[in-house]
């Protein structure tokens, strides 16, 4: 099957409020798809509709060729889900939880192996309510894998976790991809999406405002190299007058967008000739975060301009 997930014209409304407002995307089988957006953008609503735990208002949704709401009983044995802030029975031990899920799904998971995979072996017999947030999330991940799923839905799996726990979960996601599973990941950590995802969609106010590979999104919505030097705002004015560039003064730095590589030499020459003190010459490339902040900021300002207008 070429696409594990297909979504067309998806809408979810609560009264007059559209939480998801006409969303389209496809996730090819075996890829990691990151669904990015600020809090309240519609990420969780979308992922819950895909999982079949929330009913959609309009649109077509297919996961592994099935309608998640109508065919949940056939779909759920083939998918694994970790919700945001995974919670479970307070007094259950992780190894018991895995065994329990195994019976429910009719599989015979090896609790030791799964707990080792997610890095929770030392807590196999601890009560759930004594686990830290990261440990609970790791158990959620282990349970999501009990039924050997083809598609994994991870809703902000690393939110609120310490860097070490976050990296451990990233490693598991990489392993899932290497095993040929499709991963649908929602996150508001841009770094996470950039590191893990083959494809990204950015959702804001219920609409997708950008999609593609991280590189494609960066290229389409910003994506230029720039020079930065530390110096006063007068330096930006000088460069703009002398070279006709669009230099900006930001927090004691001056940023100069580059149209071509040769611009770097011209800027350096102009800096030397300016007589204004400067230091720390560097080049930088737009990250997904820069693009995300710029796109979301523009939407919020209500001045989303046509491409290239800047």
């Amino acid at each position: 099957m070429p696409n594990a997930i297909e979504v067309h014209g998806l809408k979810k409304t609560y009264g007059d409020l559209a939480a998801v407002d006409g969303v389209d995307f496809v996730v090819p089988t075996g890829r990691v798809f990151a669904f990015l957006g600020p809090n309240g953008a519609g990420k969780t609503t979308t992922v819950e509709i895909l999982e079949g735990v929330r009913k959609r208002s309009e649109g077509e949704v297919r996961v592994l060729g099935l309608d998640p709401w109508e065919d949940g009983a056939r779909l759920h044995p083939q998918v694994g889900v970790i919700p945001q802030e995974f919670r479970f029975f307070e007094k259950i031990h992780p190894d018991e939880a895995i065994h329990y899920y195994g019976v429910l799904f009719g599989t015979s998971p090896d609790p030791e192996k799964l707990l080792r995979l997610v890095g929770l072996s030392d807590k196999a017999t601890a009560k759930f309510d004594t686990l830290s947030g990261g440990q609970k999330q790791k158990l959620g991940l282990a349970l999501a894998l009990v039924n050997d799923p083809k598609v994994c839905f991870l809703d902000e799996p690393t939110t609120g976790l310490d860097p070490q726990a976050r990296r451990a979960i990233w490693d598991v996601i990489r392993q899932l991809r290497s095993e040929g599973r499709t991963v649908f990941l929602t996150t508001h950590y841009l770094e996470e999406a950039e590191l893990l995802a083959d494809q990204v969609a950015i959702i804001h106010h219920g609409k997708i405002i950008a999609s593609g590979t991280p590189e494609e999104i960066i290229a389409a919505h910003g994506g230029r190299e720039r020079l930065t030097v530390e110096g006063p705002p007068s330096l930006a004015q000088y460069l703009n007058q002398r070279l006709g560039v669009a230099a900006r003064a930001v927090d004691g730095r001056v940023e100069v967008p580059m149209r071509e590589r040769g611009d770097a030499l011209k800027v350096l020459t102009a800096l030397e000739a300016s007589g204004i003190p400067w230091q720390r010459f560097a080049t930088a490339h737009d990250t997904l975060e820069d693009v995300f902040v710029a796109l979301v900021g523009k939407m919020d300002d209500g001045v989303l301009k046509a491409e290239g207008a800047a």
Binding site: P77, F88, K91, I92, H99, G106
Partner: protein, 363 residues
């Protein structure tokens, strides 16, 4: 219905229960405490009434014998007191009953002359006064017949209904088992239905092949186990500690099984109407409290004034307790069949309604 899944869910739930000291306390130790408290209260109800006697005929052997016979009835306990103002003595000491054996009592009996005994009774304690009155009247009549060399013609023989003469503690044991069948599942299920929804546990379970019916069945099985344990504890305490005349009979099984089915399903139904954990607790109390007091748990419904006696017949727990009274006290399974039929139908309907009403997923 997949038995493996039901059993797995039952095991997880039971473990959680045993690892939570509060739940365990309410299920196992609370019944012991209940039976102990009510057992002590109702057992003490049968102690004899103390009657303060002024014997003005002292030291005649007849009057001493009369008081001794009065003591032997077991209904009263004679306490001699000195001559004086008996009425004032009783009032100042808050004693309920007093009796004066007048001077010339022995002589009057010997000469067949009528003689009156004087009794003082506190109108605020009519029960004690009534017991004392009938004890004195009975012994007095006996002495009159003997003095007249006659025997009573009309006898009253009181036969117990069923096999034994029942006391309050006997009625209390089925009532408290009913209390346990009601409260343990109701309060837990109402709380579970709201907190599982809040914590996303229903959502989590909806992503597995476990069905709502299987999940609810596992809860029912667990509460049947708990009911058997607490009923055993209460019957044991009642019989061995408070000498209750109740029996563990096969006829009890339908109630120990159907009772938890009904109240687990009702608790789930009530809880699924609530939007938050707080409102769930309120709904649970509104459903539970009337049944707790008006179904014959602590006092037999027959003692209730109207309209409460009629109200009791609209409460499902009434049929559980009424049926258990019939089988445990009278061993009358045939008489309990209408109760069993009512609970069976109510359980099936409530189970179906609960499974249809509570939602795993969000619309």
């Amino acid at each position: 219905m997949n038995p493996n899944r039901i059993f797995a869910d039952l095991v997880v739930f039971a473990r959680g229960y045993f690892r939570n000291p509060i739940g365990l306390f309410f299920s196992l130790f609370f019944p012991i405490i209940l039976v102990s408290i009510f057992g002590v209260i109702f057992s003490s109800g049968s102690s004899p009434v103390t009657i303060h006697v002024v014997n003005q005929d002292s030291p005649s052997n007849t009057s001493i014998q009369f008081l001794s016979d009065l003591n032997k009835t077991g209904a009263v306990n004679v306490e001699l007191t000195s001559d004086g103002d008996l009425s004032g003595f009783l009032a100042s000491n808050s004693y309920p009953v007093g009796l004066i054996i007048p001077k010339g009592f022995a002589a009057a009996l010997a000469n067949h002359t009528p003689i009156a005994l004087t009794m003082y009774g506190n109108p605020q304690d009519p029960t004690s006064v009534g017991i004392a009155e009938s004890a004195v009247a009975t012994v007095g009549n006996d002495y009159s017949y003997r003095a007249a060399n006659s025997t009573p013609i009309v006898f009253l023989q009181v036969h117990p209904v069923g096999s034994t003469l029942f006391t309050s503690i006997d009625y209390l044991v089925p009532g408290l088992i009913g209390f346990s069948i009601l409260t343990s599942p109701m309060f837990s299920m109402v709380e579970i239905s709201a907190s599982y929804r809040k914590d996303g546990l229903f959502r989590q379970l909806s992503l597995t092949p476990l069905t709502k019916g299987e999940w609810l069945t596992a809860k029912i099985l667990w509460y049947i186990v708990l009911t058997f344990i607490s009923a055993g504890v209460m019957v044991g305490m009642g019989v061995f500690v408070f000498h209750a005349h109740v029996t563990l009979v096969v006829g009890l099984l339908p109630f120990l099984i159907l009772g938890p089915v009904f109240f687990v399903a009702l608790g789930m139904l009530a809880g699924s109407l609530a939007k938050t954990v707080e409102t769930a607790a309120v709904i649970g109390n509104v459903v539970t409290f009337p049944m707790m007091f008006l179904s014959g748990t602590f006092f037999p419904v027959a003692l209730f004034p109207e309209p409460w006696r009629t109200v009791a017949h609209y409460l499902p727990l009434f049929y559980v307790i009424d049926g258990m009274d019939r089988v445990m006290l009278f061993n009358n399974l045939a008489g309990a069949l209408p109760d069993i039929a009512f609970i069976a139908v109510a359980s099936v309907l409530t189970f179906i309604a609960a499974v249809l009403t509570f939602r795993w997923r969000a619309e």
